[in-house]
Symmetry: C2
Subunit: 214 residues, 2 copies
């Protein structure tokens, strides 16, 4: 019956009906969302993991770094794997040494270095730096870029890393990026996103470009 009466409406009445139904749906959506927000009032330092094969893991981490900086928070970046070439994010963030500390510790991807012992040395040196920040309550947010790779290849012991993460200041946020996040790390994290590749320009013959991949 409703359908029939809709059918005889003219276009203006149709639009009015669509708008009214939209409003009713949004009133209900707001009730549900407000109730959930009421349930979620606790604050805590988070462990956020971005993993998976899709594009967006590191860039999402850097987006959170500037969110933190915009809110007057002190941020730190430690890059574990990248670093063979200077990236746009590094060039940009190095302009603000009082707001963000930027450490490029890796010498490039594992298939570029081809030297596991040297990769391990680099990863261990990087983790020593991380340990300092993870015990400094004046640091609000730490991005551990590509740490998942160092853990996946067992360059660092995941149990030692988890122990240091869990001993950090209560309000400190840590973001961990890279493919193949270990299940042990996912288990102790608060927010985890699996970034799935639907398609990638590289498959279509397009080179990695400034502003997008670096």
């Amino acid at each position: 019956m409703r359908q029939e009466s809709d059918n005889v409406d003219n276009s203006n009445h149709d639009q009015a009906g669509i708008n009214e139904r939209h409003r009713n749906r949004m009133v209900k959506a707001k009730q549900i969302i407000d109730a959930k927000i009421e349930q979620a009032q606790r604050k805590a330092g988070l462990i956020v993991i971005t993993t998976g094969n899709g594009k967006g893991k590191s860039s999402s981490g850097f987006g959170m770094v500037i969110r933190a900086m915009g809110n007057g928070m002190k941020a730190v970046v430690v890059q574990f794997i990248k670093g063979a070439m200077s990236t746009g994010e590094e060039k940009f963030l190095q302009r603000f040494p009082n707001e963000v500390s930027f450490h490029v510790m890796g010498e490039g991807y594992t298939w570029e270095t081809q030297n596991r012992e040297r990769d391990i040395e680099k990863a261990e040196a990087a983790w020593k730096i991380c340990q300092q920040y993870l015990s400094d309550p004046t640091v609000d947010l730490i991005l551990l870029d590509e740490l998942n790779i160092a853990l996946k290849y067992h360059y660092l012991d995941v149990n030692n890393v988890i122990a240091d993460l869990q001993a950090r200041p209560a309000m400190q946020h840590v973001i961990i990026t890279g493919r193949g996040a270990l299940p042990e790390l996912i288990a102790i994290a608060d927010t985890v996103t699996e970034m799935q590749e639907v398609k990638h320009a590289f498959q279509n013959g397009i080179v990695a470009q400034a502003g997008i991949e670096w």
Copy 2:
């Protein structure tokens, strides 16, 4: 047999074996990756979409904005839905008006406005601004934050949006974020990531916090 000889190795020999096998795997990996890179030498302005229910869509877009800025590229941000509250990324990027133009066009989420006609007016006004940038070859990268929401609710016609995107300067990159990317838009995009939620702190009673969600 190989297994047996491994078993009688002492620890140092084990490590040497692991390191050697790692090197061999990485040499092969490099050959495969280098061959793929050889195939991918074309440069082009890309359409990058980040969609899905997981955290990281907008933050990934903002990460690419600072990548672009670090490489001396001119960036633009147009936010379609967010805007009821000032975000860290907005506060931060507004510091660089000569490097990035930042437009907050929405009045908040659809369940906050509850007014489809007004949402449509705002979306249309936002798209007029986009059209100017999409015809300006001096703009290197445009982030259309939450455009997918405006398209999903039919606030804008997807065919008109696609026509404007496809008529843009050849080297201009466009990043489109938001849940529920329409299949028509995915079809014309170059790189698409579906961000899947594995877990979220909100489910565990933790409020949206500065530096992470805004």
